[in-house]
């Protein structure tokens, strides 16, 4: 079954077209990696799929539900790891995750388990503003998977993470998680290693859409020229 079906998607910010005529299909359990220079529309695509932005044209179906009309049925089934951690700086990691757990109807026990799995248990009672960016990113990963979403939308998920932390979060957001994933990346090597399908965006338009086996790494480099 297709987890994502996008056809002719367009999204504007005022006069500027951030996405134009983007189409793709992603099956359940597959990973789509989106490449493209800054301003290419990667984050806008993630926000549309997360139901945070309405499509201005085209047809978007996420987990079998049409957007924006069925957005209410998609929320809670999607985990978004954005540029911003979506956490409150003045609250501790534990308070932040408990807050999100209540919004998603998740038990507090899951909060403890996730803090343990991202190695943040010992610093979980300190306000986020006192933590390093890498630590905050680990808490953000825990937040994104707190409610066991079926679809993960990951915007440069490894930013600010050291190699040990990347390994630490792999069971939660990596291929081993078994979830359908859409990942925005600037790292051709790492991105292609994760991908089943590759989407290249340039100026909001599809410049590349193929299965990973048919993609030459030089084509990714070319997107950024």
């Amino acid at each position: 079954m297709a987890a994502l079906e996008v056809e002719g998607l367009a999204r504007r910010y005022g006069e500027r077209e951030a996405l134009s005529n983007v189409s793709l299909t992603l099956q359940e359990g597959q990973t789509l990696v989106v490449f493209g220079p800054n301003g290419a529309g990667k984050t806008t695509l993630l926000r549309v799929l997360a139901t945070l932005l309405h499509p201005h044209a085209g047809r978007v179906s996420v987990l079998g539900r049409s957007l924006p009309s069925d957005a209410w049925a998609v929320r809670g089934r999607v985990g978004l790891l954005a540029h911003e951690p979506l956490l409150y700086r003045e609250l501790t990691a534990q308070e932040n995750l408990r807050f999100h757990a209540r919004l998603h109807g998740v038990d507090d026990e899951r909060v403890g388990e996730l803090l343990e799995s991202v190695a943040m248990s010992t610093r979980s009672r300190e306000p986020l503003r006192t933590l390093s960016r890498g630590m905050i990113q680990r808490v953000a990963v825990a937040r994104a998977v707190l409610h066991s979403p079926e679809l993960l939308l990951l915007d440069e998920p490894h930013s600010n993470l050291d190699p040990a932390a990347v390994e630490l979060v792999a069971p939660l957001i990596g291929a081993a998680s078994g979830r359908t994933r859409v990942i925005c990346s600037h790292d051709p090597g790492g991105g292609l290693a994760e991908a089943d399908i590759v989407l290249g965006l340039r100026d909001g338009r599809t410049a590349l859409l193929r299965e990973v086996a048919q993609v030459d790494p030089s084509e990714i480099t070319e997107l950024y020229r």
């Binding site: 978004l80 409150y88 609250l91 919004l103």
Partner: protein, 224 residues
């Protein structure tokens, strides 16, 4: 819904307790304004209409400070997005934010009213307190409802610091008028009486109407 409102309210109060960005500022503003009035009017005490007007105008402007800060942490730290991604009734945010602003107003008045009595008020507040508390509560509900609506509208604009007060003040003026008229008889030096029932009813009706309007509109304000 109750669980979501509880979670949001707890988060709001925790953030305010940690940052102390809203309530101390509002309280300090109110006390400073009373000091300014004390010297500007060049009078040792005020009563009746003048006292009620000073009290309500000061509370109104102090409330604007809280309204302007109400959604700042959510807008700047991604709390809006996190909330919108959750499978919850969006009206919960309206209720939690309005309750937060109501709590801010109550704490503000716990500081501002004694300061007002000390710095400016001629007649004693003793007998007037039950009536004044009722009027203030009705006014606070209106400020909370309208303030939350306006803050949600303004926070997503670049000129939120300007737009918030510009939108809020005209909508809050009827509350100031109703509150001041209802309070005036309580603060009269000669023959103080109870609050005017007509103005209490006006405040209650205004709260109800704007409560329903805000409840109906709030979901649309959160949409893209």
């Amino acid at each position: 819904m109750r669980r979501t409102v509880g979670a949001l309210l707890r988060k709001e109060l925790l953030v305010e307790l940690r940052t102390l960005e809203s309530v101390p500022g509002m309280s300090l503003f109110a006390v400073t304004t009373f000091v300014v009035f004390h010297f500007a009017l060049n009078r040792n005490s005020v009563d009746g209409d003048l006292a009620a007007g000073i009290l309500w105008v000061t509370l109104l402007f102090a409330a604007i400070l809280g309204v302007n800060r109400l959604f700042v942490a959510d807008a700047e730290e991604g709390g809006f997005d996190a909330f919108l991604l959750a499978p919850v009734d969006r009206s919960a945010m309206f209720i939690a934010k309005a309750l937060t602003l109501l709590a801010y107003m109550v704490v503000l008045e716990l500081v501002a009213v004694p300061a007002f009595a000390l710095l400016l008020l001629g007649p004693s507040l003793g007998g007037a307190m039950p009536g004044l508390a009722l009027i203030l509560l009705l006014g606070d509900v209106g400020v909370a409802v309208i303030g939350t609506l306006v803050a949600a509208l303004a926070v997503r604009t670049r000129a939120r610091d300007l737009l918030g007060p510009l939108l809020a003040l005209p909508l809050l003026v009827p509350i100031v008028i109703g509150g001041a008229r209802a309070t005036s008889p309580l603060l009269a030096l000669a023959h103080p009486t109870g609050p005017a029932a007509r103005w209490l009813a006006t405040l209650g009706l205004y709260d109800l109407v704007f409560g329903l309007i805000a409840f109906a509109l709030f979901d649309f304000l959160l949409e893209d």
